[in-house]
Symmetry: C2
Subunit: 249 residues, 2 copies
DNA sequence: GAAAACATTTTTGCATGCAATTGTAAACCT
DNA sequence: AGGTTTACAATTGCATGCAAAAATGTTTTC
């Protein structure tokens, strides 16, 4: 009765209900056969990052290593590798011998991240003015008009979708991969903060935001890099203030 | 003569000369007993990062996992964790099933990194103007004068030390931890590029750089954030051009 | 003699094992 | 009873094991 613990090593072709991590892992290729090219580590990393950014784990909550292993169907090794990377991104804290916790961001941290995002967007605007194509500009202009329509119709949800897309397109237009990567990291952090709520109530802030976007488009059209840089940073600062008030409720 | 490779598995209590990773690891606490608090992973990460940034491994060179394990006296697990983090920082490339290589940065990559550093310093300057203390400003001013002395004496090495320190102090003065972290990462990447050589030959560029630094100090004294931001970005752009020419030799 | 096919060694990715540390709760003392 | 101690369980950090993939070397074929 002591040899029952080692009989799971043999390679079984067909097995009824997956229970252990290894067995679940053996089934994963069936569940998602189309994208079985990335390494297990990368997939776990992406999934765990989303899992946290989406807010499935509360701030400061312990990250249950073993539980997530079974949930993702992998062993501890790739999961731990993912945790180290997420720690270096600032999404989780790693306490020596005491596990990983979802990083609890304080108001001061969000202030830092917003400023950082502002700086990155300011840079993006400057670089975009140097290298943006006519087609790329036209695309942003079209998005701007679309967004304006949603503003007039008071469709906050669609307005925000367009808004985010415009900012992302400016970053893309900068044509700087290193910048895009860092922007994505910072934006991911901030995404954990759910704001944008009562912009509708504060109608004057909304109108102001739209005016700022018009100034952004204008500077971009004139390829005025330094100017656009300045406008974008200040725009993000105002967004930060609005977010702060929104979160305070 | 084929069984000699597996006899090192037994755990020995007393052993003459450490040879295997495990044996070396067992001796490490004796070698450095005072700072045995950080996790093995963190230490390996820092050491490996330095090892690469210092240029001990050539661009595009394979990273010999097993060899570094023995060199650092750890097993593959913490080393591989460190490699994943370094990959996320962009220092190494991880090729699926084909190991890690030192990321070979092309001219275009350095251009991106320089622009990114310019954007981060521009942000730092802007934020520093908002929050810098008189003491911090005085420190930077003193460094500036010291640097000017080295310029007059044509001491390129000390000039550059001061120069780097000034830029770092501005970033510190921004008081934004997230920014500092990203700046450190980008600066580390760029440090792999050894430039700054023939600034001495190009005497006009050196003089120009000094003038730019005077403008930086002036804007900082006036707490002119937007202006400083602009100057810093352009200063970095010029630095980039000089570096490009310097590397081209 | 060069290229293709095969066999062998090495390396990689992941799972698991094990000792050490931490968390937890029952037993103990004052 | 309240706080301390001690035994126990869970968790963590790292080392190692193992199968699959790649690199390398050898033979074979034309």
């Amino acid at each position: 009765m002591s040899d029952t613990k080692t009989d799971a090593k043999t390679e079984t072709e067909v097995m009824p209900p997956p229970a252990s991590p290894a067995e679940i892992a053996a089934f994963v290729p069936e569940i998602r056969p189309e994208l079985g090219k990335t390494s297990l580590h990368d997939e776990v990393l992406a999934r765990l990052r989303d899992y946290i950014v989406e807010g499935n784990l509360r701030d400061g909550a312990r990250i249950p290593e073993r539980e997530l292993c079974t949930q993702f169907g992998v062993s501890r090794t790739p999961l731990r590798e993912a945790l180290k990377v997420l720690a270096s991104e600032g999404l989780v804290d790693l306490l020596p011998n005491r596990g990983a916790r979802v990083r609890a961001l304080k108001a001061e941290d969000y202030k830092e991240l917003f400023d950082l995002m502002g700086g990155l967007e300011a840079l993006a605007g400057r670089l975009a003015c140097e290298s943006i194509s006519a087609a790329q500009y036209a695309e942003i202009e079209a998005l701007h008009h679309e967004m304006y329509g949603f503003y007039l119709r008071r469709d906050l949800h669609e307005y925000f979708r367009c808004n985010q897309l415009i900012h992302q397109k400016i970053v893309d237009a900068a044509g700087n991969g290193a910048l895009s990567g860092m922007y994505a990291t910072v934006a991911g952090q901030i995404r954990r903060l759910r704001y944008a709520a009562n912009l509708d109530a504060k109608r004057d802030r909304w109108a102001e935001a739209v005016r700022e976007h018009e100034a952004i488009l204008d500077a971009l059209r004139r390829r005025a890099g330094g100017e656009l840089s300045d406008i974008l940073f200040k725009h993000l600062r105002n967004k930060q203030i609005a977010a702060r008030e929104s979160v305070a409720e």
